[in-house]
Symmetry: D4
Subunit: 232 residues, 8 copies
Amino acid sequence: MPAETDARISDFACLDIERQKRTGYPEVVYCAGKKEEEAFAIICSLRERGIPVLATRAASSLAEKVKTAFPGAVFDETARTLTAGVFCEEKDRAGLVAVVCAGTSDLPAAREAARTAEFFGSNVEVTSDVGVAGIHRLFSRLPALRRARVIVVAAGMEGALPSVLAGLVSVPLIALPTSAGYGASFGGLAALLGMLNACAPGVSVVNIDNGFGAGYQANLINKLQEVRYAHG
Amino acid sequence: MPAETDARISDFACLDIERQKRTGYPEVVYCAGKKEEEAFAIICSLRERGIPVLATRAASSLAEKVKTAFPGAVFDETARTLTAGVFCEEKDRAGLVAVVCAGTSDLPAAREAARTAEFFGSNVEVTSDVGVAGIHRLFSRLPALRRARVIVVAAGMEGALPSVLAGLVSVPLIALPTSAGYGASFGGLAALLGMLNACAPGVSVVNIDNGFGAGYQANLINKLQEVRYAHG
Amino acid sequence: MPAETDARISDFACLDIERQKRTGYPEVVYCAGKKEEEAFAIICSLRERGIPVLATRAASSLAEKVKTAFPGAVFDETARTLTAGVFCEEKDRAGLVAVVCAGTSDLPAAREAARTAEFFGSNVEVTSDVGVAGIHRLFSRLPALRRARVIVVAAGMEGALPSVLAGLVSVPLIALPTSAGYGASFGGLAALLGMLNACAPGVSVVNIDNGFGAGYQANLINKLQEVRYAHG
Amino acid sequence: MPAETDARISDFACLDIERQKRTGYPEVVYCAGKKEEEAFAIICSLRERGIPVLATRAASSLAEKVKTAFPGAVFDETARTLTAGVFCEEKDRAGLVAVVCAGTSDLPAAREAARTAEFFGSNVEVTSDVGVAGIHRLFSRLPALRRARVIVVAAGMEGALPSVLAGLVSVPLIALPTSAGYGASFGGLAALLGMLNACAPGVSVVNIDNGFGAGYQANLINKLQEVRYAHG
Amino acid sequence: MPAETDARISDFACLDIERQKRTGYPEVVYCAGKKEEEAFAIICSLRERGIPVLATRAASSLAEKVKTAFPGAVFDETARTLTAGVFCEEKDRAGLVAVVCAGTSDLPAAREAARTAEFFGSNVEVTSDVGVAGIHRLFSRLPALRRARVIVVAAGMEGALPSVLAGLVSVPLIALPTSAGYGASFGGLAALLGMLNACAPGVSVVNIDNGFGAGYQANLINKLQEVRYAHG
Amino acid sequence: MPAETDARISDFACLDIERQKRTGYPEVVYCAGKKEEEAFAIICSLRERGIPVLATRAASSLAEKVKTAFPGAVFDETARTLTAGVFCEEKDRAGLVAVVCAGTSDLPAAREAARTAEFFGSNVEVTSDVGVAGIHRLFSRLPALRRARVIVVAAGMEGALPSVLAGLVSVPLIALPTSAGYGASFGGLAALLGMLNACAPGVSVVNIDNGFGAGYQANLINKLQEVRYAHG
Amino acid sequence: MPAETDARISDFACLDIERQKRTGYPEVVYCAGKKEEEAFAIICSLRERGIPVLATRAASSLAEKVKTAFPGAVFDETARTLTAGVFCEEKDRAGLVAVVCAGTSDLPAAREAARTAEFFGSNVEVTSDVGVAGIHRLFSRLPALRRARVIVVAAGMEGALPSVLAGLVSVPLIALPTSAGYGASFGGLAALLGMLNACAPGVSVVNIDNGFGAGYQANLINKLQEVRYAHG
Amino acid sequence: MPAETDARISDFACLDIERQKRTGYPEVVYCAGKKEEEAFAIICSLRERGIPVLATRAASSLAEKVKTAFPGAVFDETARTLTAGVFCEEKDRAGLVAVVCAGTSDLPAAREAARTAEFFGSNVEVTSDVGVAGIHRLFSRLPALRRARVIVVAAGMEGALPSVLAGLVSVPLIALPTSAGYGASFGGLAALLGMLNACAPGVSVVNIDNGFGAGYQANLINKLQEVRYAHG
């Protein structure tokens, strides 16, 4: 019997069920812009095929429905992430991803990154509120941060933290601009431009508030060795 | 005889010769966008009235012409500033303005700021190339910077330096974004937005590459006490 | 015992409790983007250490909670500022900061600036509704404005007021663009660009609606002399 | 014989020779973006039909060629306008259009406006260098300006002049933003937005550097009465 | 007794009560961005001085309050204009302003223009839904439009109507871009840019949705003759 | 009796009832920005003249009212399209338009396109969720897509699907950018720019979320032959 | 022997030599951004395989070189197109594509569209200078335009022509915005936005100055029937 | 003797000579915006300290000067990179970085990335001209690309390549937008936004044309294991 390579759900979705074979990781469900019943149906279809699910931008009401259907499901309200099924057991996590967060308002994006990297198999440590306005707070965390293999740096406003940190460590930084700010932050544009123009090398950037993308990329880098063997 | 309050030059300019009475400082000649003969005529008219002249964005050819006409005139090629006549003798300069510059490419703007503050009566020290990518360079300069009463911070690219420095000193910072950079720096927009969104208080911002404006404001702050008495 | 240099609050905040030593003024709490319980916990932690608190962008409900916990707390509904504890007694305020406001819609930003400068030790006078459309109103206030050591100018729409005023006074102006306006004001962008391009020198600019930043910078300039001695 | 309603010139242009009947004024030749031989051919075709020509954005080399072909042609190098043939004799000009210009760099646009309004039949007075940074210069010109029936106000940088002036006169203002400035003026965008957001009523705006459009509209308003009779 | 030149209302407003002397027309109350009690107090203060009031962007609730206090007050719900007192009796209106409106969604801005021009003394005719997609509708209205002395053209989306109409009439057009549209209309930006770049002369532009500004300028042009005499 | 060429409805609308004669298709009702009673009145007026109606961006409440008045009316909640009367019987539809949709969030725009093309006489097949992140899903649909005469491609985020698909088929593609996305998608701008810059030829683009425009253009192309004969 | 599906040229290019099989038309050479020797090598490689070549944005110097190497090559200096080899004999061209051009400055883009559509097999008629400012010129051309099966409309400045024309014809319009204009045209952005927001349906848009894309899409639509049979 | 931690060069630069200790790699010289003599002096100072130099955005004339002074220096004209001294011998390079390039015009940025990654110790393979318009070219390269540990993807125009490729491989992608394109590519903005909004995870982005940043980050990821040991 030929392998099922995609699977239609009614007329609104088409699961990419072979994604793990191609990329090492299963498809993730982005809930924003989908009706709640659509997101729920997609999650169920994935679970029926035994695929562990990470859903992002999930509303509480969806989380309730999913937790009822799949009792082990876990919802992080700040991160708005919802997991059902386990891709990587906690004990099997390897390597360390540090998630650094400039201010309290950057936490939702930072925690979305953290939950994503954990789900896919990285150990994660979150350090919050070490913005450049009180830069000694960053320095006091440096020894801890230097243990990480990749660092995600979430910041809004002027987004200066990645530039400073990248000059102090030897590992890749994933800069995560957030929409925290007002006025001329233009919804995160100032932070995004700041990070793209970082004067220190070793920084690459994801979309504004894209904690998922930052965490996914960080895990990919952290697990480079392993994954390659797994499907090489 | 009533005081001359303005003075027409041909049909293209109208000197604001009472500006010093109103604001404490004489009018400055911004040369960009003016024909060379227009700029020259304005400079001559001011000198004829005994008004000391600072001209900004001056071309070398204009500088040559002015130096011929007014032998004591001084041209700074990097800053593109030209002075003819002396507003404040070097020995009478008071207070200290520090001009800090993130990278070598920010020097033209930084030096325009320095020359402006000096012309109007401040002592100035320029510190170049202390960008946040190697932040220890900034820390080694901190004791010197803390002697200043105002600090001008020139930076292009992501413009992160003011945010870091403002958290370390107790004096006002004038952030001077420069057009140094490429791509998503959009001609200095990234630096400008970064500085406007600085997470540390004590920062105010001038136009991109506006070294004159930064130096003028820095001098105004530095000399606050004096000036007020002088025309109070 | 080594000095406490920062203080973690749960996992979402890290107080910068030595900021006053470094910069002359304690940390301020920016409430927007923080959950109410987070803002409240931060305020309590600062008060426990005896640090006087200025909180900006505070909601009424937070204000109620804080006033219950700290009976002397004061809330300004228009400015959305909340203070608990006193940094500088009213009788000890020194120097004068003028806050000028182009139109009635600019009052929230203007009053945030005023409350901030007062909290940190400046005398403040607010002059409202002197926009350039009826410029005689500005002229009639000039003698009063000339008594100030720094002037904050809040304006939305085209933001022309700082350009006009800067040509009439001899002290530094902090231009505060506001989001008052519609259509091609693009949320305050028109006013911001107008102020950055002010044709009169002596103007530096803060973020759109950033009354706090304007007031802080104004106070810094006003108190330059004193502060420097205090921690020199 | 039916009237000629349009006239093809080779394959690149189609004269709108009945425009004067419809709108009161003949077609004008905008030279930018046309090859010199195209512009020349269009001017010749119009002259052959006896239509007086105003050409804008004309290069000197085109002007030379036209002056050779049509000896009475007049070229204004600053305004870059070229006229061949006379639409309205100088003695027949009526009403007064004032053209006010904030700075010397705004002169090219201002003079394009002046030449256009004159060509179509208005008396014009140009007042230069009365920017808001020295606003007394504007006040000293007010009595003269109040004699005008329409005022064109050319300004770059922050473009604040129309807001101030519109509150002082009782006639319509045509605001003409120019590209004079740098950095965050973004090629005249700051001035354009400033003028569109003018807080004083009685201001309408034309494109950046569109001196022709400002002068045309000013003349249209000035001559409203007459023209209507002429083709009513 | 010296004339009252301005009048403070509490601490939030400063009436410009001599505006009529300077500009021929009294101050207008822009209600957006003001608290309802502020707008109400300003309206009362003007009425107390016998000044006829036009208030724009007025909410229904404010209108109710004003109608109770000043029984003759009139509210136009679509235009959101509120008038109390009469500046020009209907029988004394002179000249004709045409307000042309591309689509039904442009009516609020168009009617704000119409009510404004009427209030200040012009006869007004509104023609709606003559957008360029069915251009014969415009042609069938041309004879009527040609009776007007000024034409206000309101259009959203691509804002093409002024370009077409300006080539067909001999009077000034005031182009009024509206925010009608979606996607790449960017809140009226597309229409605004379209109108600023109109290829036909005789068009000047006001801010997006600024029906008041368009109507005011149209009336100013229409009444040019009269007003000048009144206060000349 | 002369043909009725337009028809006024009260003072807010002017039906373009001869549009079908000029363009082959009747006028469509765009409901956004119209009051519900206005949209209803327009629909009734068209139906009274026997013109089949397609209304877009229709609210459910309007749909209810229309279905009551015209029992055969059909509402598609996802597409927000409402039809009353039949322009082309289902059995008479000809040719095939394929509507391809990158993700579930793009369905509303895609279905608006589908309903529009069907209404005007095309057979339509919708293929959803074949975004480029799992490009094999697109390849498995290629044989089906190659039966179409025109393809509408709806995509948000980076909008890459048209570029890929245009290199694989020989028919015109209408690219339909959607506002699905967040952060630096800037409301669909990223997708729009992506599609305008498509490196494969054979792509033309409509406004963000303009499913109607895409479906109309697709039908026009599909029915080119027929329509031309019908009114040739 | 397996078919050659791509062909490397040195290390800088990879010919897509099977494109004609997939899409009905061979690959086109876009010369901008390529070194002259690169463009020349690509053209030679295609000719060696007998593939007829259309090169766009070609410099005169490249054209000379190609004409020497391939004597039948043809260069259109205004359009900057270069053809070597014949894809479709002139006698075999079918259907009619009209290319309409608002002003003389839009000719380069318009002719690029014309040359492209001709190369691929359409008859083409170019109509220039029928901008909306003198709309009667458009009406006099309507009978001719109505013979076309597709219309390309090139316009800069406000880009209003497609909106007007689309309401008058029954065939698809390809709107081609050009960079003709200045100031707030922002390099063609105003025209682009205008066309995307066209209030008349039946319009789809290509990139600014993308005459090639417009001509290609127009030909694709025009030849829909044939091409499908040819490779069905 | 304390370690030299920075080194001033005249008054324009301050070498960050301890960068290798902190980050694993020495400082790189960005030549754009520096005077040629400044860049040359910096390169000499680094070489004097035995630090291997990579200079980017180097002009040919600088390259000549450097090659004369340091005979082993190597200049890549397309990449504009200049190396003097060897950081990692070719035989010691480890791991594989693939650099994929959508079109010929993207080569300069792509090769800057390649030269950078090689300089710092990665093996690099460049694959050019595999843009999505002929996606089979990408598929035929997939086996080779899957041998890489990191992939840099350079693309201009719509920047779609990273989205497609990221769904097909299991390693991190560094997306490198280029300024190749015209019109609505807005200098690379379209590609940048496209990449930031990539619908496939595993993509992070650097500044437009920032080949250096992409190559640096790719090498950092590729060498993660080693470097950490080297200075751990």
